[in-house]
């Protein structure tokens, strides 16, 4: 067994030292009738056979890397510089655990400290934690934080229908035992309406920009919402895709109290939905109500600068049932990846990527608008937009894939029953002009009833 070094001789020596005749004798506490059951699993495979089998499975999937892909809706296809995977492949990072012993974990701790600093700057906030599981769980933790800030005395949570449907679903799953009034997202409301739902029993209002439909919330309207939310003593939580923030005004500047989102766009492969990265940034005044690990700077006994996880009294291993969350870890390796990605691109590179997304999406939208039977929803969008189709989206996508090898956009009717025949189209820097032209031409044919 290549992963287990013990030889029969080793085992014999160890058993002698322990003073039991056989390995089986170490398991006598296990009820005899349940001991050593048979496992109905495939026989062991040699490495080359295992890889051949996995290759065969992988071959039965259509990779968005090798097909024109116009699918976004919360997971995005961006270019990843080679340096990112190189760093993540360093097993000093990948095979370490949560830095319980800071003296021999400075690599991880400093990297997280740097990640926190970058996220704080990107979002315009003061503090970032070490990350959550993904965008959806980060949104749920943000709502829990708002409830904690309100000492659990406020029971209403206002959600915008523009927040990713799966984020809202996870918020509801997390909070189902708390008997809260979760409302606002039954219909597509204006920011004013959402502000109107906010009262003195409201813990927070959650919006997204660019929202699930790709629409940008202008900074001034966001600022107005922030004012009315704060007037009620509630927090404003903003979910944001970090890539557009390379060019857009950060929610922090518009008055958001918590900014969360899916960090996958920052150098993390789509990987069929995970592992991803939930970033979580907020104002310093709420730091003790926040969840998740936080790396902080300090000095060692010799006065040398170093980093530790701090404010651990918020966490489950100390506060137990009074903790701010039950979370134990973060998506450390992916936070590292995001930090490396942001470092590689730098301020100009990230801005350039964001601009490319914008230009290509607007180019695609303009071409689509000229195709009979199709219509692009009028609004200020970033790199995703809602496209009305002459046929059901499932039909369109099937044809796009079978006839043109194109991965089409997201079927909005799946989450918004009233948005029939509407496809959410996404463009990133990965979509060449040729691809976009190919796609828009394909739409003409696909649209025929």
């Amino acid at each position: 067994m290549s992963f287990i070094p013990n030889t029969p001789e080793d085992r014999a020596r160890m058993l002698a030292a322990i003073g039991v005749p056989s390995v089986a004798d170490l398991f006598t506490d296990v009820p005899a009738e349940h001991r050593f059951p048979s496992l109905d699993l495939p026989a062991p495979a040699a490495e080359q056979d295992a890889l051949r089998e996995l290759d065969a499975l992988a071959a039965r999937n259509t990779e968005c890397a090798h097909a024109p892909c116009f699918l976004g809706a919360g997971a995005y296809h961006h270019f990843i510089p080679s340096v990112v995977d190189f760093v993540l492949s360093r097993s000093e990072f990948s095979t370490a655990y949560t830095p319980y012993q800071p003296e021999i974990s400075q690599g991880t701790l400093q990297a997280i400290f740097e990640y926190q600093s970058m996220i704080a700057r990107l979002t315009g906030m003061e503090v970032s934690n070490a990350s959550h599981y993904d965008g959806a769980t980060a949104a749920a933790e943000a709502v829990v934080m708002a409830l904690n800030v309100a000492q659990r005395q406020r029971r209403r949570v206002v959600l915008s229908a523009g927040v990713h449907p799966q984020y809202r679903a996870v918020v509801r799953t997390y909070l189902q035992g708390m008997g809260l009034d979760l409302c606002g997202d039954e219909t597509d409301r204006s920011l004013e309406d959402l502000g109107g739902l906010c009262d003195d029993s409201t813990a927070c209002v959650v919006v997204q920009s660019p929202d699930f439909f790709g629409r940008i919330v202008p900074p001034d309207s966001l600022a107005r919402l922030a004012q009315s939310v704060h007037a009620c003593g509630a927090l404003l939580v903003v979910a944001a895709n970090p890539v557009p923030l390379g060019v857009l005004v950060p929610p922090g500047e518009a008055g958001a109290d918590v900014v969360v989102g899916e960090g996958q766009g920052l150098g993390i492969a789509p990987s069929f939905g995970g592992p991803y990265l939930g970033y979580f940034a907020f104002r310093r005044e709420n730091v003790r109500k926040s969840s998740g690990r936080i790396a902080g700077e300090t000095v060692d006994r010799a006065g040398t600068r170093g980093y530790v996880f701090t404010l651990s009294t918020r966490e489950q291993h100390i506060r137990r049932e009074k903790a701010t969350s039950n979370i134990c870890t973060n998506q450390s390796l992916l936070a590292l990846g995001a930090a490396v990605y942001m470092t590689c691109l730098g301020p100009r590179g990230l801005r350039r990527v964001a601009e490319l997304c914008w230009h290509k999406a607007h180019y695609a939208a303009a071409r689509i608008a000229s195709i009979p039977g199709y219509a692009v929803e009028e609004c200020e969008f970033f790199h995703e937009f809602a496209m009305k189709c002459p046929v059901p989206v499932d039909v369109a996508n099937k044809r796009l894939h079978e006839r043109f090898g194109i991965i089409g956009g997201y079927n909005l009717a799946a989450d918004y029953p009233d948005r029939k025949n509407t496809m959410l189209v996404c463009c990133t820097e990965m979509n060449s002009r040729a691809e976009i032209d190919f796609f828009t031409d394909a739409l003409k044919e696909v649209g025929r009833a």
Binding site: F3, I4, N6, I18, G19, V30, P37, D40, L41, A50, L54, T62, C64, H66, V87, S91, E92, S94, T95, P99, Y100, E103, Q106, A111, F113, E114, S117, A120, R121, V127, S131, A136, G177, P270, F272, P275, Y276, G296, T298, V299, A302, R305, L311, Q316, S325, N326, N330, L333, T343, C344, L345, G346, R348, G349, R351, W358, K360, H362, Y363, I436
Partner: protein, 482 residues
């Protein structure tokens, strides 16, 4: 030699990546929407690589040496797992693609659901949860939903043994339920008298870590699960310590109704410095329809199989976006495929053998509260010596660093004074274990002869002991703060 912050190495005008030119006509972005500045570091590629490689040198990892961190199962991570997860046919899939275009991925997930169910003895498995604590929350919400659907909303109490991980109580209150702590008996088992005293129709269930955090298999497990079931409650299994039971016993057959598996521990996916992980959850037939969805279903049509998403009929809802940490799941699948049934059992046997060997060889120098019993994959020693009153477990741990080892888990479980929780795992050779024993014995001697060596340890690490009080008081959590 400390490594400067990346921001301190930044020089305006440098770039670490090239972005292609725009090949479509540009559309102006309204200035009102644009930010004025963005202070990200600016470095050339070579300097970036050097920075992170230097940081990596400041880490201790499983690939560096023995990492006997109790309850964390820091075993060797096979490299084939990495190759598999990076296959373009897996890493380049968009989670929302039409199922028809990802049948291979769905089949892998379906097989893994079946494998985990078989290994744990559960009817159904959801691969959605991202980590152990996430799986726990899933399990508790499922138990709650189950009782509600049976018309028993009054079942709001979760019994948690005092030896449990801190996550258990935190999870319980997050689910809106009440925690009742159950003490352990003198042999480290759940105290049956206390358990009986708390069992009534207000009990939703018991959260049980078995083997428990003392590394002991509960001698009355079947009695415990029977008592809880007779009272109408459910038993949640914390799978953190499942490495001891692979192929040895199926929790689902011993009265555990629902349990999470830490794929990053038991199934050897790398811990990544604290994540990503996976907390897949297995459940009995009774609870299957409450699991978070979607899960993968196999549909036979005209002789050939198709895989599709299915949401359990009374699902508690989504626990995260999309379908779980797929990249981690591919690694776990690869690991299970390579080991097979015999291999998995060998994992548990050797993990337990290694732990008992260490326990036997440390007994005479370190107090081991339950040393009279056979431990499972880990055991808890005490880092305190009558002959060296000033020395604490933390000092022992820090000194271990100087001697080239990662320390055990400190101060947990809480019920053991000055706890040192030691889990060697099956992937360590007897030579490594012997050298660890040597180090531990050396430290025991130093504790008496030259205690300052321990109190000032570590001496060899990139930094010395860090001032956590300063960190918490003068909170500095981003670069450039003053």
């Amino acid at each position: 030699m400390p490594e400067p912050l990346i921001f301190e190495k930044s020089r305006p005008g440098r770039e670490g990546a090239t972005v292609p030119a725009c090949d479509v006509p540009e559309t102006a972005i309204p200035p009102a929407l644009c930010r004025s500045r963005l202070d990200l570091p600016e470095l050339a590629e070579g300097d970036i690589v050097r920075h992170y490689v230097r940081l990596s040198h400041m880490n201790y990892s499983v690939d560096t040496g023995l990492y006997p961190l109790g309850s964390c199962t820091m075993k060797y991570n096979p490299k084939v797992n990495e190759v598999a997860a990076r296959m373009a046919g897996f890493s380049q899939l968009h989670p929302l693609q039409d199922p028809a275009t990802v049948q291979g991925a769905l089949e892998l997930l379906h097989r893994l659901q079946g494998m985990i169910g078989e290994i744990g003895g559960f009817e159904a498995v959801s691969l959605q949860p991202s980590a152990g604590a996430h799986g726990e929350l899933t399990g508790i919400l499922v138990m709650r939903a189950y009782h509600l659907s049976r018309g028993e909303p009054q079942r709001t109490r979760i019994l948690v043994p005092d030896s449990a991980h801190g996550t258990n109580p935190a999870t319980t209150s997050m689910a809106g339920l009440e925690v009742i702590e159950i003490p352990s008996d003198s042999r480290g088992n759940v105290d049956l008298i206390e358990l009986r005293a708390h069992l009534d129709d207000r009990v939703a269930g018991l959260m049980l870590t078995n083997p428990n955090t003392l590394g002991l298999f509960d001698e009355h497990l079947l009695e415990v699960t029977r008592l809880v079931h007779d009272a109408g409650g459910l038993v949640y299994g914390d799978g953190a310590n499942f490495n001891a039971l692979l192929g040895v016993a199926k929790p689902g057959q011993m009265g555990i109704d629902i349990m999470h598996f830490n794929l990053h521990k038991t199934f050897s996916t790398p811990h990544g410095g604290g994540g990503p992980g996976s907390g897949a959850v297995g459940a009995s037939a009774e609870l299957a329809e409450f699991l978070p969805g979607p899960v993968v279903a196999r549909v036979e049509e005209a002789g050939n199989a198709r895989y599709e998403w299915r949401v359990p009929l009374q699902s508690i809802g989504r626990m995260k976006s999309f379908h779980g940490n797929f990249g981690v799941l591919v690694r776990a699948y690869t690991y299970i495929r390579m080991l097979g049934p015999e291999g998995l059992r060998a994992v548990a046997e050797n993990a337990v053998l290694n732990a008992n060997y260490l326990q036997a060889r440390l007994k005479d120098v370190y107090p081991i509260p339950h040393g009279d019993r056979t431990c499972m994959h880990e055991f808890v020693a005490q880092g305190s010596f009558s002959a060296a009153p000033g020395i604490r477990a933390l000092d022992v741990s820090k000194r271990l660093i100087d001697l080239g080892f990662h320390p055990p888990t400190n101060y947990f479980p809480l019920i053991v004074h000055e706890a040192l929780m030691i889990e060697p795992t099956e992937t360590e050779s007897i030579e490594t274990l012997d050298s660890f024993v040597q180090a531990m014995r050396t430290i025991a001697r130093e504790a008496v002869e030259s205690p300052e060596l321990l109190r000032d340890a570590p001496h060899s690490s990139p930094v010395k002991r860090l001032d956590e009080v300063k960190a918490a008081k003068e909170l500095k959590v981003t670069a450039g703060e003053t």
